[in-house]
């Protein structure tokens, strides 16, 4: 009884803190969405229930539109199953609508029932919260959000909206009321682009055909190219947008057939290692400080990023893209890859002073291949390092498999496969060479970034930031730790000891499914055709200020 009362106090304390800070900060911030009129390649999926002509039909479905052509697929009971019947047509030619039946009489009945009350071409607009014609009567509930549409004998009510990739909000719950007919759509998720083409808008087919592949990056010994033995800086190199697009096409068209699964999937080493909450959260500081020990990376961040004013925002955006590429569907992966390249494309300049292997005035670009390989390496070496420290050792075969998977990730950020170390052992040789190389030099700007990173911006951040600094100090390679002027004496060792013990205890006591981080659960929900919800939804909104990342 006493224990119950103690626990009740803890819960009350939590509720009080939530109340004090306001619930708004636990939900995604509000924003003005883009108009869904600007979608030309998109899809939504969910469940429908239709009552009309004295008959009730229920089915899962998806609605997909590529330019002028749409398809409404009836899926039956399985939300991620293959279509059993498909209504196809052209939005400009509603009379051309056709029905293809693939999966039997039941699906055909549902499709025909739907066709008896509605044109799927109109649904192309209504399902996005848009009027199908200029004759509609629309009641708005905010910019680009309809509350009610009256059109073609229907009163259509939009009860809920979901935030989806690309700054769009699409209806999540729609009720259609007509004369003795009723349709309800519960939407689960949506894709808003990159369904057929993984490249950005600025690359033409002629550009891609003329692209020469990654020949400029090829070398016999990747490690020696990346870390010259004489301590000099490697020769700068980068790939243009057409070659970048060519890499995306290679992944999009050839290597990965299931767009719902994305790059990896639940059987991959990538999901196994990065899905665990503790290694990632304990290793985040190590990876970031290793990155900014590279003077080009630091210069890019220092001169072009808002990290100074908003270090947590920068970390949030970085991990948003890393997690989208790791766990997203193929369209989400391609959206993130293009977005990151666009952001990086604007980042270039000259080093303000000589920094280790890099001369004063040497040009840097965020899309430079050697620098990107370093950023890429810090992520995956850290994940394996922390996983082995906190979870279990990995076999050579598992590390090789994991490393092969990371090559796909690298290619999505513009790194040609031929520029990368060949296997895990060569990759580790590269990491060790970099730790000892003057290419990693902690400049005053890097030191400032480190101080900003661990500076508590409010009373609530004092303990987490203090803990993160100790963990980072413990896990950094000694030469880099010393350059950052970070201590790792008996006091830090003692504190790190109890933090690891605490983390282990938490891991042992909390429910098994809480060992995995929230985005992993969100990706699993996508594979099952479900929305996330619950505590993991809360975590995503609290950490990323987004309703969803990969669903």
């Amino acid at each position: 009884m006493k224990m119950l009362s103690e626990n009740a106090k803890v819960v009350l304390l939590g509720l009080l803190l939530v109340a004090l800070q306001g619930c708004s900060s636990l939900k995604e911030s509000d924003y003005v969405p883009k108009s869904p009129e600007t979608l030309s390649e998109w899809m939504v999926e969910g469940a429908m229930e239709l009552r009309a002509n004295g008959v009730k039909s229920k089915s899962n479905f998806y609605f997909k539109q590529i330019d002028e052509n749409y398809e409404l697929a009836i899926l039956g009971d399985n939300p991620v199953g293959k279509p059993k019947a498909v209504i196809r047509g052209n939005i400009y030619e509603p009379e051309s609508e056709m029905l293809d039946v693939i999966g039997g009489y039941e699906a055909e009945k549902v499709a025909q029932h739907f066709q008896s009350v509605m044109k799927a071409s109109s649904l192309s607009y209504w399902v996005r919260g848009l009027p199908a014609t200029a004759d509609a009567n629309v009641t708005q509930q905010g910019t680009n959000l309809a509350k009610k549409i009256e059109e073609d004998g229907w009163k259509i009510y939009f009860h809920d909206y979901m935030s989806v990739t690309g700054n769009y909000k699409l209806p999540a719950e729609i009720k259609f009321n007509g004369d003795k007919k009723e349709l309800r759509l519960d939407l689960v998720r949506a894709e808003t682009g990159y369904l057929t083409n993984p490249c950005g808008q600025n690359v033409s087919e002629a550009d891609i055909a003329a692209a020469n592949g990654d020949e400029t990056a090829a070398s016999d010994n990747a490690v020696q190219t990346l870390v010259p033995r004489d301590g000099s800086a490697p020769l700068p190199r980068w790939i243009d947008e057409a070659n970048f697009c060519k890499q995306l096409l290679k992944i999009h068209d050839n290597e990965l057939p299931d767009p719902r699964v994305g790059l990896y999937g639940p059987d991959s080493m990538m999901w196994r290692l990065s899905g665990m909450a503790l290694p990632g959260s304990f290793g985040a500081g190590r990876a970031l400080l290793l990155q900014v020990a590279h003077p080009w990376v630091t210069a890019g961040i220092d001169e072009h990023s808002v990290v100074r004013n908003d270090p947590l925002g920068r970390a949030r955006r970085t991990f948003y893209h890393i997690l989208s590429v790791t766990y997203g569907s193929m369209p989400q992966v391609m959206a993130s890859a293009n977005q990151v390249r666009d952001i990086h494309e604007e980042i270039e300049g000259q080093l303000p002073e000589k920094s280790g292997a890099f001369e004063r005035g040497s040009e840097y670009r965020a899309n430079e291949i050697n620098a990107m390989i370093w950023v890429h390496a810090t992520l995956w070496e850290t994940i394996v390092h922390m996983y082995e420290e906190m979870e279990e050792p990995l076999t050579q075969q598992e590390k090789d498999r994991f490393y092969e998977e990371t090559k796909l990730f690298a290619m999505l950020f513009g790194i040609p496969e031929s520029a990368l170390p060949a296997d895990w052992n060569e990759f580790m040789e590269y990491n060790r060479a970099m730790w000892a190389s003057p290419q990693l030099t902690v400049t005053p700007a890097a030191m400032q970034l480190k101080n900003d990173l661990f500076k508590a911006q409010s009373i609530w951040m004092i303990f987490p930031m203090w803990g993160q600094e100790i963990i980072t100090s413990a896990e950094l390679p000694p030469r880099i730790r010393e350059q950052y002027d970070m201590k790792y004496g008996w006091w830090q060792k003692m504190n790190y000891g109890w933090m690891r013990a605490g983390a282990w205890t938490m891991g042992a006591l909390l429910p098994k499914n809480m060992e995995r981080q929230a985005v992993y659960h969100e990706a699993m929900a996508r594979l099952e055709g479900k929305r996330l919800g619950g505590v993991n939804q809360f975590f995503i909104e609290a950490f990323f200020d987004k309703e969803r990342l990969v669903n």
Partner: protein, 181 residues
């Protein structure tokens, strides 16, 4: 012992969650003007109903030429009254789209140009009235450009370019509406 560890764990998780959520900042976004307010600037108190323009064929080609890239979307919503048209168009500046409203007079000249929503952390200076003033009276050239050069803003180059593209696209669309009348 287990109960103590459990309570400590819950406290730790709670503090970490709250700490992070307290740090949460909203999107880098400013809504300068609602669509209704923009339309009121173009039409006064008598705002016409929405019209819809399918974006196909020659009109699409011309619009995309003015924009300098493919347009994502199959139709455009616009407003028209006595030869004056109004357009609300999203266009990416650096990373995120901004929403721009353009009103075009019956003579095919820009009469109103407003930044409705800006979603980048930097470059929002194009909202300044003195800058936007430069667009008023501009018309479309034969090669689907603006009839006069617009002075840029240091640090907002991409946003200025995006505004130029949208202004030209609105003039192309206006021509298409006028041609169909």
């Amino acid at each position: 012992m287990t109960a103590i560890l459990f309570r400590a764990s819950i406290r730790l998780v709670g503090v970490l969650m709250l700490a992070v959520s307290l740090q949460a900042q909203a999107y880098d976004e400013t809504e300068y003007l609602k669509p209704e307010a923009f339309l009121a600037k173009v039409y006064g108190s008598h705002v016409p109903g929405i019209s819809l323009m399918p974006l196909r064929g020659e009109t699409r080609k011309k619009a995309e030429a003015a924009l300098g890239h493919g347009y994502s979307g199959m139709r455009l919503r616009y407003w028209e009254q006595e030869g004056t048209t109004a357009w609300i168009i999203d266009e990416k500046s650096k990373d995120m789209p901004m929403t721009i409203g353009v009103g075009v007079s019956p003579a095919g000249e820009i009469a109103v140009i407003e930044l409705l929503v800006y979603r980048e952390p930097r470059g929002g200076e194009i909202h300044q009235a003195a800058f936007r003033q430069q667009y008023l009276g501009l018309s479309l050239t034969e090669d689907n450009g603006l009839s006069a050069e617009v002075d840029g803003i240091t640090g907002a180059t991409l946003s200025v370019d995006a505004l130029n593209r949208v202004a030209a696209m609105a003039l192309v669309l206006h021509q298409a509406v006028a041609g169909n009348r």
